[in-house]
């Protein structure tokens, strides 16, 4: 297979992209970055996992989930509860409970999380179960569009407020902090931190592959159909509520997993990471990169998280203005996200009659454009079309 044909076959392009991303994440980044930077990258990659789910639910299904923080938090707290119990050792209460709590023993709903298998399963299954219950109520009654967005946002607000209110059992505003160990490994040890990074990178790649498969399956096509015209799908004999539910539940699962892995990477989970503001920030990364394209969403999430760290440390005020501006520019003027720029440029070139060779060159260039952020050349992982960009114009 020659290089030009390689770039024309979507599937081959995607695998090339995933392969390049794997090289970048497993070989380049660990060699090039300091332990501290690698730790930050691990945190960004968790954000990218949430973006993978958002890409499916919002980019493909049109479900603007402004409450991903809830699922992120459920996964994070499930993991952190287990780690806190493990840190405290058998028979002891986690430190914060000794500090604020009046209880002399673990609350009943903490106890199952002492079991590592239960806790691990809960990090994914708990968010998915909550999403399934909530989603089936909401979608079955055909609550959609803006209504759905507002409800999901209210959910994030309520969950954060509830957590803050339960100081004695959830740590309140502080959250669950100062986590020491991860299944027997000391998290203060840089070697173990690296291990956590590798786990996160591997899980992210796995999620990308899984969700891409889902997007390109028959289900993925049906999901787009539901986004385009829900009523029409119903007349074809499908129940659109179920179609949306699957996307919503999968997105909740990815967010839960992200939250769970965020905890060992950063050592803390708190209501400040799951309320309204962080929930919207999850969405914005995907929106800036390109909501309908996996590569765009992942790179956008990493890029925005990186920009936040880089800018907000030195110029907190400037960062807020920049973030606001980013929202406005990306959504008002570039709804397909940054990845759509490549398509726009390509089509403009094509209309200037640069012909076949030019098209192939642009295909290669795509990968270069994607290589700007730490996550590197996932640039090719999704050749997905951005909304309202006719496929016919793609190559």
């Amino acid at each position: 297979m020659t290089l030009p044909t390689l770039f024309k076959d979507p599937s081959a392009r995607a695998w090339t992209g995933v392969g390049a991303a794997a090289v970048a994440l497993f070989a380049v980044a660990p060699l090039a970055l300091s332990d501290f930077r690698l730790g930050l990258l691990a945190k960004y990659l968790c954000t990218a996992m949430v973006a993978v789910g958002i890409c499916l639910a919002w980019g493909r299904g049109g479900l603007l989930t402004l409450g991903q923080g809830v699922f992120f938090g459920l996964g994070g707290y499930a993991m952190a509860m287990h780690l806190k119990i493990a840190d405290a050792g058998p028979g002891n209460l986690p430190d914060f409970m000794q500090l604020y709590g009046t209880a002399t023993e673990l609350p009943w709903w903490w106890r199952p999380f002492g079991n590592p298998l239960f806790a691990l399963a809960a990090t994914v299954l708990l968010p998915m179960a909550v999403a399934a219950i909530l989603g089936s109520f909401i979608f079955r009654r055909r609550v959609k569009g803006a209504y759905f967005a507002i409800l999901s946002q209210a959910l994030a607000a309520a969950f954060a407020i509830w957590l803050i209110g339960q100081q004695a059992t959830t740590g309140g505003t502080n959250g669950l902090t100062d986590i020491q160990g991860f299944f027997g490994y000391d998290l203060d040890d840089p070697v173990n931190q690296r291990m956590v990074y590798f786990v996160i990178a591997a899980v992210l790649l796995l999620l990308i592959v899984l969700v891409r498969q889902l997007m390109h399956s028959r289900y993925g096509e049906l999901l787009v159909a539901v986004r385009d015209s829900e009523e029409r799908v119903r007349f074809l004999g499908y129940d659109p509520a179920n179609v949306k539910l699957v996307a919503y539940v999968v997105a909740a699962g990815t967010a839960g997993l992200a939250g769970a892995l965020f905890v060992p990477a950063v050592g803390i989970i708190s209501p400040a990471m799951i309320g309204i503001v962080p929930s919207i920030e999850f969405v914005i990364g995907a929106a800036v990169g390109g909501r309908a394209s996996l590569a765009g969403a992942v790179l956008g999430a990493i890029g925005v998280a990186w920009a936040k760290t880089a800018l907000s440390e030195e110029f907190p005020a400037a960062w807020t203005y920049f973030q606001g501006l980013l929202f406005i520019v990306a959504l008002a003027f570039l709804p397909g996200g940054l990845v759509s720029l490549a398509g726009i440029v390509r089509r403009r070139r094509a209309s200037h009659g640069s012909g076949d060779a030019g098209g192939n060159m642009d295909g290669g260039r795509d990968g270069d454009a994607g290589g700007r952020a730490d996550g590197d050349t996932v640039g090719n992982a999704g050749e997905e079309k951005a909304p309202a960009v006719p496929l016919g114009g793609a190559v």
Binding site: F137, G145, A146, I150, L151, L155, G165, I276, A317
Partner: protein, 298 residues
């Protein structure tokens, strides 16, 4: 018993604040299907307007009364500007509008932080609003705070003014026409873009008035709008799009519910219970309490 009554009254006054905010939203969300997250920052603008006026005018009572129309104009102007610069480009993409206006709201918050500083500020309530009215005396007294009564009166006045304006003025008729059938209104010679801008001005102006009211019950800060705006959006969702009647009923119902539940449980549990109640309600009436019945496929 009087505790419950007192709690109910507090709930009604919370509802009144929600109503003032939601009235504006019912215009912008109801008519244009625009989810303006910056609405919360228009509230903030109204509150800071009150603060600035009180600094420059000595009497607290005078400055409060002056603040009402000025805050209306300031917030209204901000709204009209936002509509003109951004929102009119996004009418067919409501979800994108939500995120774009969230960006605007971030910037406005930061602007407030840069001008007034990050810490909250306070205004002084005029003397005639600081006292209480004793409704039931004796050992177990029931008192209503004057400031909350004032907010209630303000909300009632705003509802009356708005519904009269919608019903009686030609602008109001045009607004209702556009709500009910945008295309038909357009071909009937109504300049929908001008109606849109005016509606946005009115709705945002009402947010400014709500901001003045909020200075009477709490501190003024850059993020004051963020939390309450979600509740106000829920009022619209539950009340039904473009329905004044639904907005009024639901605003008070949610306020009372929140307040009474807070008393019987805790603030945070009450918040969760209210949300559960809303989801349950939407099972029964997914389009909200009142809806314009149409045969449209959507």
């Amino acid at each position: 018993m009087t505790v419950i009554l007192g709690q109910t009254f507090t709930g009604i006054s919370i509802g009144a604040v929600l109503l003032l905010i939601a009235l504006g939203l019912s215009l912008t969300f109801g008519q244009m299907n625009v989810i303006n997250m910056a609405h919360g920052e228009f509230i903030m603008a109204g509150a800071y307007t009150t603060y600035v006026l009180q600094k420059s005018i000595s009497g607290a009572g005078v400055s409060l009364l002056v603040a009402l129309p000025v805050a209306f104009l300031v917030a209204g102007a901000l709204g009209a500007l936002l509509e003109w610069v951004l929102i009119r480009r996004l009418y067919l993409r409501p979800l994108d509008t939500l995120l774009v206006t969230w960006g605007v709201s971030l910037m406005l918050q930061q602007l407030a932080r840069d001008i007034f500083g990050a810490p909250n500020v306070q205004t002084r309530a005029p003397d005639w609003l600081t006292g209480n009215i004793t409704v039931i005396g004796g050992d177990d007294p029931l008192t209503f705070a004057n400031s909350r009564l004032f907010i209630l009166a303000l909300a009632v006045a705003a509802v009356v003014a708005l519904s009269l304006a919608l019903r009686l003025t030609s602008l109001g008729r045009r607004i209702r026409g556009v709500v009910q059938n945008r295309d038909l209104a357009e071909v009937s010679g109504i300049s929908t873009s001008r109606v849109d801008r005016t509606t946005f001005f009115l709705g945002s102006g009402l947010a400014g008035v709500a901001g003045v009211a909020l200075t009477l019950v709490g501190p003024i800060g850059p993020t004051m709008g963020t939390n309450i705006i979600i509740d106000a959006f829920l009022v619209i969702v539950v009340g039904g799009i473009g329905q004044l009647k639904g907005t009024v009923i639901v605003a008070f119902a949610l306020g009372v519910m929140q307040s009474v539940l807070e008393y019987s449980t805790t603030v945070s549990v009450a918040k969760v219970l209210v949300l559960v109640a809303i989801v349950a309600f939407l099972q029964w009436r997914p389009q909200g309490l009142y809806t314009l019945r149409t045969r449209s496929l959507v």
